[in-house]
Symmetry: C2
């Protein structure tokens, strides 16, 4: 069985790499902090004799040999990059729990039938480089290597340049190694498990999500003498859109419609200038693909309406769409059996967040394990999961991996 | 009579200092560009033998002696600083038209009874350092020198530091020299004169304005799994407020209510993070002080309402209030007589924009002259006033100054 204290100590040590003022972490993808986090992980892995390889988009594959190394490995993992003010668990738990499984097997001299592979996927968050999960998506064939290496951050730096600069550009062709199956442990990032007093979520799939870049082009003019009715106020148009989308999502009694505007920037902003140009990001999600289509259609209608109302030209681009995903029944069953055997309260549930498992599931049977996080808060420095829940999640992961690797 | 071509050439030459991509200018207050603009002006002034002095907040006083130098000078002027993407006329016209009056008098060997003073006021726009018109306000006793020197820009640099760095910190005690009277020529920055086919606005006063800094503190959380009803979305709250204020202002059939939100910033913004903190600026204006009070009260109510609706804590600070101003009847009359004598179409009108004349009017009889600008557009690179209107405005200014200086 795994060592919960050792796992917790690793989580707390990792959090000290790129610490933020209020107890969170900032390791934006492929920054020096992200590289330092990877280096810490590799030091721990090397202590127990693991070897590792890097692919062309920086995905990191850490191998624990089995008895049958001719067979594809049973894999686990997640990501080490964070949001600008991220927490200590999102992604990191999945990586370090995988390592804790390796350490526990090492201590107990257990050799699995199939080899095990711990994977750290590059740029999962989508915060420095959009879209999210781009490197697991490349691994799974959704994006070309060229597309991925040419993603740009807000300063114009490409993902490829950042990869070279931080020392994690590899040579392994993307798509290798092929995996027998993939299991990802993660915090829920929402309040469902905590509210229900359940300790484990057996994740059966992931909701669909679509990302948009919207530009509102009005006309900047003086705040004082310009009559309200002659304005072309790009911010007023953006605000109306945000408000309409909020109201629409809140009106869905099922709670399944999710809308978020995370970034809004005014060009050459000044207090006494009517905003002439605004860029806005929109994130639409739903567990049902047809409902997501309807939500996108509503969004398009409202865009046209606010453009008309405020005399503002609007352009929008859908930069990412990740369809609703169903995980593999045999992997879901492995997680459910491991959970059931531990006698804890759990539920089968969909994930509201995207995860690397979304793309990996296209090329290998996949499932996920959730643990609760306090108040359902994530993407926030205050993100917290208890040592007990982290240990429990790692134990479920361990048991599912062993069952699968020794089948 | 003044030389319209020479005035136009000076305007176009000044626009080349800090030029922007689309034909405007960027000379934010007390930057190297602003300093270069002042240097150009002083070169022109020195050519015609004018002397100059700087006060402690960087206001620049350029003297043309009269026959009675024991008397207080009749003054004109405006500002040389611009918005981030400002035009070629806002402020600059008032300064260069004053210089053109001096040049015309110089060419024609005319000596006035009272001396003339051309003033360049520091940081009128309020874009780099809030509030606007802060240095003319200091001159007039509205703000202390300490207050003004300690204003900070977005990078934390104080006005005092910027003044030292750009070489325009002076020693003349603020409030000197005392002025006999003040006349400011400016573009209208709105569409009224152009729409009516009138060439001159005889400005009788300025509407009241109030500036606010608002902070919305919600809770950042993940865009995917966080249920809409459990969110504390700071941007959704700000958007609702902006929309309510817009709707309220548009509903005023008189058109006198003006509301502008010029700056909005999300702390640590990321596409898939519900915004936890948003800072917003609000600019409220009205020609009637009681109506402005009512507008501020409405704003306060709506702030409370959106805070409640979105579960977001809101703090607001009124950082500036400039009451409705009435200019001096004798100065208004001097402008009206000069305009009337030229036989052009004009109207008496209130100004929608704040101007240095607002504060100067507290310590010296003051009036303003407006000329039309194309499409009423200002605080925009596309700002334009015709050479004919610029020359006409300068001629009215010249005639009003002479009448006043020789009275
Ligand atoms: N788990 C996580 O935070 N993923 C980022 C992708 C998303 O926005 O859902
Ligand atoms: N004239 C001008 O642009 N003044 C700035 C102060 C204001 O916002 O009205």
């Amino acid at each position: 069985s795994i060592d919960g204290q050792r796992l917790w100590d690793m989580l707390m040590a990792m959090a000290e790499i790129g610490p933020t003022a209020n107890g969170g972490s900032c390791r934006l993808a492929l920054t020096p902090e992200d590289a330092a986090g990877r280096r810490q992980l590799l030091d721990w892995c090397e202590e127990i004799g693991c070897t590792w390889r890097l692919d062309q988009v920086g995905n990191l594959f850490i191998r624990r040999p089995g008895r049958r190394d001719d067979l594809a490995p049973v894999a686990t993992g997640s990501h080490l990059d964070t949001q600008p003010k991220g927490g200590r668990f999102d992604g990191i738990l999945g990586v370090l729990a995988g390592l804790e499984v390796f350490r526990a097997l090492h201590d107990q001299d257990i050799v699995t039938e199939r080899p095990l592979e711990l994977v750290v996927w590059t740029n999962e968050e989508g915060s420095r480089f959009a879209p999210a999960m781009v490197a697991s998506g490349t691994y799974a064939g959704e994006f070309s290597v060229d597309y991925t290496l040419s993603r740009r951050d807000g300063d114009g730096v490409t993902l490829g340049e950042a990869l070279e600069a931080c020392g994690y550009a590899g040579t392994l062709p993307v798509g290798q190694p092929r995996l027998d199956s993939f299991f990802e442990l993660h915090i829920e990032q929402g309040p469902v498990l905590e509210d229900a007093g359940e300790s484990i979520g057996v994740v059966t799939g992931v909701q669909g999500m679509r990302w948009f870049d919207v530009t509102f082009s009005g006309q900047s003019a003086h705040a004082g003498p310009t009559p309200m009715r002659l304005r072309h106020d790009a911010l007023a148009a953006a605000a109306r859109l945000i408000d309409r989308l909020q109201t629409h999502a809140l009106a869905d009694d099922s709670g399944a419609t999710k809308v978020t505007c995370g970034c809004l920037e005014i060009a050459s902003a000044s207090r006494n200038v009517i905003p002439g140009e605004v860029c806005l990001t929109v994130d639409l999600r739903h567990v049902d693909e047809a409902e997501l289509d309807a939500l996108e259609a509503y969004f398009g209608q409202e865009l046209a309406a606010v453009g008309e109302t405020f005399g503002v030209a609007i352009t929008q681009q859908r930069i990412w769409a990740s369809p609703v995903v169903d995980f593999a029944p045999e992997c879901i069953a492995a997680v459910e059996q491991a959970t059931h055997a531990l006698g804890v309260r759990y539920r089968r549930m969909m994930s509201g967040a995207g995860h690397d498992a979304v793309y990996v599931s296209r090329v290998a049977p996949t499932a996920m394990i959730f643990i609760p996080c306090r108040d359902g808060i994530s993407h926030n420095e205050a993100e917290y999961a208890s040592p007990e829940h982290c240990a429990l999640g790692a134990q479920v992961l361990c048991d599912a991996l062993l069952a699968r690797a020794n089948r």
